[in-house]
Symmetry: D2
């Protein structure tokens, strides 16, 4: 039974079918903006937004995000990519180009706590997350009916200490070759380095503390113990270092001595939901560049 | 006695002596970014930051801020301006260019409440406001000694119902021809349309409420009366409509039933200080574009 | 099909079955706290939390909230109420006492926008709203399946300009005599004075602006038009004056020139959800006292 | 030259000359509130505010703050203290009573960074800090003229690695026996355990990070390195463990990749000022109770 309908799917016309986005990072130097904007202008594109940031004018890194409209984008997309490679090579660019009408496909991992998943599903169904939730993978059966009520496949893959490797293998099979981003929506299992390597800067985790405070498990208990006056949550890309990957977004809320651990968790759940949803939104809108262990977010 | 020293003045070398900033607004159309960046590249400039925003891709307005470095800027500045006019004319641009090493000169107006003035003086002295406080004008003598202890001229120009016109005439004389921006740091007098016209989008006022709530006098009393749970302050450019000009910045703080009007004022003073100082900082760093009754702030 | 289970219902033991709460307001004077706390102590109660606030020590109003544990509360409840009336009469108290184990019953009104309803259902199901959602009433059929999937009755009562009176009559019948609080979770119809009178200070509405800014319809369009840098939402009790009732809670979020009306609405939806849910939580936890047109919230 | 006048000193009448405050902590048990409020009522006091918090109803700790008015307080103060000891003994209370008209005396320690000192002086002079700044002690001469312009004594006591012990001895002599609270307003020296012991829970430090993140020196450099999206500051009581004492207050502000270490410091200075000033205000208004390594703040 599909009792939820993604509002975006009911639009008769895609408002962005001629829009593309580029993300560029390269060593800074003169002429980059000129070269990119000249290239796009030459090919008939109209830049509707561009953001740029130079970490340090002398010898630093240059980051750019450009959003442009181009008629008949679908037909010209491959050619445009091919030709831009010349510009890219000249400036030693690390670059991506995305056709906006091709929605990003997400796989959401979840264990038993449902708040982050519920938020993502609601935002998706409200048309606020402009991507496709392709599947939900869980080591528990709890959310099956709920997820399927959105018409989204639910894969229950149990994980035990002994079957960790097989379980991950099974996850990779289910994911296949057509998933853009993996979201750990309070998935309480460690991801292996092999898995991380394959989805470098494409696995988003929500940590239930204001990192780097309270790394590891039970952050709300630690926060209560330390008597902090503000608690937070952190969305980050997963790297081999636990809770150490590039931070995408953080937010906080004020608490007081009146809030016990149970109350901190309750307050924290709302921060976690909001922070994770923002990070996912920015990722699928191609707003995030990663450099070393930090993010540049053009939002 | 100068007991305060602006930390910026103690720098032996100006770190930005080759930097300039451009602010551009024009009807949107293809090729603007390309033309501007190509022009700058051709003239040897290195773009260190650029921000751009299109209000609506089809037939809307285009806004741009560019910060660039150019060696021997001082010698080339006039010529660069002259040549850019061609580009500007082609795209019907409304544009400004600023040499960063030429500090903006501010005149601060104040009545009896000193908190906004104290904040601006402190931020200036700490080197956080990258401009020059050229003078303070007040209708009261209270702050004379304090202002002069910073080595800043203080002009006491009394204002009464009968002498309003003469007082304003006197203010204009004192200001002269070399002031870039006028800051009403809780100056409790209405500015005449003639004065406003002369400094269009260059007079910044701090209003002690979250506009458009509580327009007019006694906003904290109104906020208390209405029982709001959050109070705020608003920095805006002064227009002929009281409290109706383009909003530059706003901020808020949570209050509760425990806060009476006196306490709301106390809390409000800190919001006012911070909000006004941010607006002034953005203005003198050429971060604000005004379009109709709204601001585009590239910060 | 019930695919959602309220986590609170799965508890085998009610942790608060001996707990009660009192809300008191009266003219201030000496001896009130002593009299109340002495009364409770005499009757074997243990005060676990008490909050008190005097609007003005000389001749003002006194407000108090007390939470206490008392063994065999159920048996003693009626007698305790009867006896306390003596104390109450002496100090001219306006007072209520609530047995915490008797959950507040809520009726939620909704039109087409679902975000506030979804949030309340999720928080209820997560065990964060310690009340009972007794029914949902709507003038549209859209949310029927979703609401019923929680095992909650859904009453579709259409409202047209001609049938307004009959519709309200039908709503009152459906509500019956056992609803403690009515929540307008983006219910886009005006409530009649007769209805308001019957549920005085028990109808909570969410307004999608930072009141008193942008009273009335289309607040996000007004906010965009005015160019504010922060938007908000306000939960308030409904009175005969549109958007003019006592404010319970407000919250805000920073926006920029980049956010168009659609984006302001998207951001606003999350503020609305959070603000309404907080107001409902405080109401059903007996944390709100209303005095004239203002609230005292002990949270 | 005194160019600054504390606005409170210009009041012809002390509005609080009959007001006192009590802070109580003890093991929880029945009858505490009743006993305290009955005692005060019996002695003619009128409670104008009371706050109470029980960490855990069964066998936990009970905390209370009471503010009351009593005519002829000055004459009755000593007797009242004596008599209350009976109540206190019965409930094993840890308690304090303060006569509000007897202002708390502060000693401020500062090194070279002046922003926290400037804020405290300004808030004091504005009448917002209801205490007496008795002296400023510094290991540098920089702020002498400024501090003395407020009519406040400035003691320059140099500290070197070799003279640390003598310097602290000299500080203690200067402080004497009549200082209530010591404020480390960015004082960059470690305080010895002996000194801490003597002013247990009466030395307030401002740490320039959101503790426990970025303990130790150079927190802004660490924050930049880690790429956090929010920075903060923490006011805490000084204990023998560096940056490990009970947290009084914290606040934060959003930052982005655009903010380099210099900009983080600039933003941080405003957070530090505000957070420290709040902590000092709460301390001198007797709003803080310390239990083990945590604070209960009744604000």
């Amino acid at each position: 039974m599909d009792i939820h309908i993604n509002k975006n799917l009911t639009l008769t016309e895609n408002p962005y079918k001629e829009r593309a986005r580029m993300l560029i990072s390269c060593p800074d130097g003169p002429g980059i903006v000129a070269a990119v904007s000249y290239f796009l202008h030459q090919h008939g594109a109209n830049i509707v937004q561009s953001d740029q940031y130079t970490m340090d004018p002398e010898g630093g890194m240059f980051f750019m995000r450009i959003e442009f409209d181009l008629s008949d984008l679908d037909q010209k997309f491959v050619e445009l990519k091919g030709k831009f490679q010349e510009v890219a090579t000249k400036f030693a660019m690390n670059w991506q180009i995305h056709n906006v009408s091709r929605k990003k496909r997400m796989a959401i991992f979840v264990s038993k706590e449902d708040h982050c998943l519920v938020e993502l599903l609601w935002q998706w169904q409200a048309g606020d997350l402009d991507g496709e939730i392709a599947m939900v993978i869980s080591n528990h059966p709890d959310m099956k009916d709920y997820v399927e009520s959105f018409g989204i496949p639910y894969h229950m893959i149990p994980v035990t200490a002994d079957t960790k490797k097989e379980a991950e293998q099974r996850q990779l099979e289910v994911i296949g070759d057509d998933i853009d981003v993996i979201i750990l929506a309070r998935y309480m299992q460690i991801i292996s380095p092999t898995f991380i390597q394959r989805y470098r800067n494409r696995i988003i985790n929500i940590h239930h503390s204001f990192l780097p405070a309270f790394v590891g498990g039970k952050p709300y208990a630690q926060a209560y113990q330390r008597g902090v006056k503000i608690i937070g949550a952190t969305a980050h890309y997963v790297t081999e270092e636990l809770d150490g990957g590039p931070i995408i977004e953080q937010d906080v809320q004020r608490v007081s001595h009146r809030d016990d651990v149970r109350e901190l968790k309750r307050i924290g759940r709302t921060i976690e939901r909001v922070v994770l949803a923002r990070a996912v939104k920015w990722h699928i809108e191609d707003r995030i560049l990663v450099h070393e262990n930090k993010t540049v977010v053009f939002n």
